[in-house]
């Protein structure tokens, strides 16, 4: 059935204009170079393939985080969310992490989720930082609302920045949100936000050629480990 564009015009939320996130590269602890760049709407089906196996990993609340992320990305793909964006990390073309968020209004951003598909390389920290960089430096917002679902997320974001507690409700009914202000961000930036720009043509071409993703078992193994089986 063709999409009813008259109805869509009613259902689709309005979108704020969003300037692009300029890609950057980060050298990881193992010496590999991660390209951090913005996904386009058409990338969503490929990204969801990497999110899918994470739906079944209980460890560190990967299941909840990835279920929510899955829904949010789908909503973006099918025009059911206001001003969402997605940044991703790729190493050798392989997707190693995904972060997303949206603009609540012109001044306030909402950080959605952070999913690291490889562990022990601080990929989550790097991508979360890229997300904050996007909100405050490229979207020019005043503040970002953040919630953490996992203890690791709590420790990393709430304590490392450190964020301010608020009474603002969580978008999905979870714990109250925390707040990153411009002041906190620029104070924390020297120790948390890194990356080199511009990205060389070769690396960019490799990243854009194909969003590669490991097979389900490899992803599960990377996150949950084989140990204990």
């Amino acid at each position: 059935m063709p999409i009813d564009m008259e109805l869509e015009a009613v259902l689709r939320p309005t979108q704020y204009p969003m300037p692009p996130y300029p890609p950057k590269t980060i050298t990881l602890a193992n010496g590999k170079v991660m390209v951090v760049r913005q996904a386009v709407r058409e990338d969503v089906p490929a990204i969801l393939k990497s999110v899918h196996p994470c739906l079944f990993i209980e460890r560190d609340y990967y299941d909840i985080v990835s279920a929510r992320l899955y829904g949010e990305l789908l909503a973006w793909y099918r025009y059911r969310v206001k001003s969402e964006y997605c940044l991703m990390g790729q190493v050798d073309g392989y997707l190693v992490g995904i972060v997303n968020g949206r603009m609540e209004n012109e001044k306030v951003g909402m950080s959605y989720h952070t999913l690291a598909i490889d562990r022990g390389l601080r990929i989550g920290s790097h991508l979360f930082a890229a997300k904050m960089e996007y909100h405050l430096e490229y979207l020019g917002q005043e503040e970002v609302l953040i919630v953490a679902e996992s203890p690791i997320g709590f420790r990393r974001w709430m304590i490392e920045y450190p964020l301010e507690a608020t009474k603002i409700p969580h978008e999905l009914g979870g714990g109250d949100s925390y707040l990153l202000t411009r002041e906190i961000y620029f104070k924390a930036k020297p120790r948390l936000v890194v990356g080199d720009r511009p990205v060389s043509q070769e690396l960019m071409a490799e990243a854009e050629a194909e969003i590669k993703f490991a097979d389900d078992d490899t992803i599960r193994e990377r996150i949950a480990g084989l140990k204990g089986r």
Binding site: N30, G31, K32, R122, A129, V194, G225, K227
Partner: protein, 396 residues
């Protein structure tokens, strides 16, 4: 006193083992050691379990009694040995003395810990409970914090640099990638953790001046050994490994009450006793497993046991002298840095790794050629309870 040999050794992969309970891990490692010794369906006379945190982390006590039940080793004598991060070494020592005395013939020694049952904050708190209950613990001190204060003094006094510490992290994590039992299986890149401006995020300060990759991870794991009198070990398929020497020493609980807080007297004394009993010198050792819970400790211990002069350990490591093929290979298993540090398991795991080395059964890329004598150092508290073992391959 009888000569005591190790006739069985077994270990399970260290890491985060969500699916296993503490008892599962102790049982799996024990079975591997029993099988390795060819005692599959036989019993032992006594069992010593090294474990530090069962009572706190699992709310489980009398762990050794539970283990003999699981393994049907009844009516063997059994007890749990708690001695902080040296619990494993203490379990080995108890097994050794029991056999040496002539009282027991076959003894199972197993060390295990499940630390990832709790979040990092709780694990850090658990480890910190070994500090002084009034003069240290309430302040929020942690073991990495103790190591940080020690490192600052050691750097100042002996000229140890970050470059030296880095050599240890790089070497041990590289070796970890070759060890199927290691927790961390990722080689580090100097650029990624030090040279690049991105290192500030990849390798942040953890306990100044120590950084993340100067610390061992928090691990689950278990390792086990079977001991018996050397006389009874001679007809077995695998070469028996003699526990040729052993030493243990203690020191003050707080660093500030030591005359020289950079002097790890208990390490020196434990190693001296072990060498004396084995009638060997540091120079006779071909391979060593030192307690590198923090990179500085590998350097400091390599000096205190007598491999290098004070102030030379860091330089030796940076010059590659402690790598495989070097003058004194140290932590070829990856050490605590990469193998991981499930506290109660470590002292046993170190001995297991040296047994593998002395039996010459490791793949070429991590076998020290013609290794005949090995040393382990298991460091408890902040050097206030240390055990050392000298192991020797018995010529048949």
């Amino acid at each position: 006193m009888r000569d005591v040999a190790i006739i069985g050794a077994g270990m399970i992969p260290f890491g985060r083992r969500d699916e296993d309970t503490l008892m599962d891990m102790l049982a799996y490692a024990s079975l591997k050691a029993l099988d390795d010794a060819g005692l599959g369906d036989k019993s032992v006379d006594a069992v010593y379990v090294g474990n530090m945190g069962g009572g706190m982390l699992q709310r489980q006590t009398a762990i050794a009694s539970s283990l003999v039940d699981r393994l049907n080793l009844m009516p063997a004598a059994a007890e749990t040995v708690e001695n902080g991060p040296a619990s494993g070494g203490s379990a080995v020592k108890n097994g050794l003395l029991a056999v040496a005395s002539g009282y027991y013939d076959y003894v199972l020694v197993v060390g295990g810990e499940k630390m990832r049952e709790v979040t990092g904050w709780r694990a850090t708190d658990f480890v910190a409970t070994m500090t002084h209950p009034q003069a240290e613990y309430p302040y929020g001190i942690t073991l990495p914090g103790m190591a940080g204060m020690f490192t600052r003094l050691y750097m100042e006094k002996y000229g140890v640099t970050r470059e030296h510490l880095l050599a240890i992290s790089l070497k041990n994590q590289e070796m970890g990638t070759l060890n199927p039992y290691a927790h961390v299986e990722m080689a580090l890149d100097r650029g990624g953790i030090f040279d690049s401006p991105h290192a500030i995020v990849n390798n942040p300060t953890s306990a100044d001046p120590l950084h993340l990759y100067d610390l061992c991870p928090v691990s689950d794991g278990a390792a086990a050994l079977i001991l018996c009198p050397l006389e009874m070990a001679k007809k077995l398929a695998k070469p028996p490994i003699l526990i040729a020497g052993f030493g243990q020493a203690t020191d003050t609980q707080t660093l500030q009450e030591r005359d020289d807080p950079t002097d790890l007297k208990a390490v020196t004394l434990a190693a001296q006793k072990a060498f004396e009993m084995a009638k060997l010198k540091p120079g006779d050792i071909h391979v060593a497993e030192l307690h590198d819970a923090f990179t500085i400790l590998e350097i400091a211990e390599s000096e205190h046991v007598g491999f290098f002069k004070k102030g030379e350990g860091g330089k030796a490591a940076a010059a590659g002298k402690t790598r495989l093929g070097g003058q004194m290979p140290i932590n070829i298993s990856g050490g605590l840095k990469a193998r991981g540090h499930p506290v109660g398991a470590t002292g046993v795991a170190q001995v297991v790794d040296i047994v593998f080395q002395l039996r010459h059964e490791l793949p070429k890329n991590r076998q020290v050629q013609k290794a005949e004598n090995g040393l382990t150092v298991n460091f408890g508290g902040f050097g206030n309870n240390v055990l050392a073992f000298v192991l020797r391959r018995v010529q048949s």
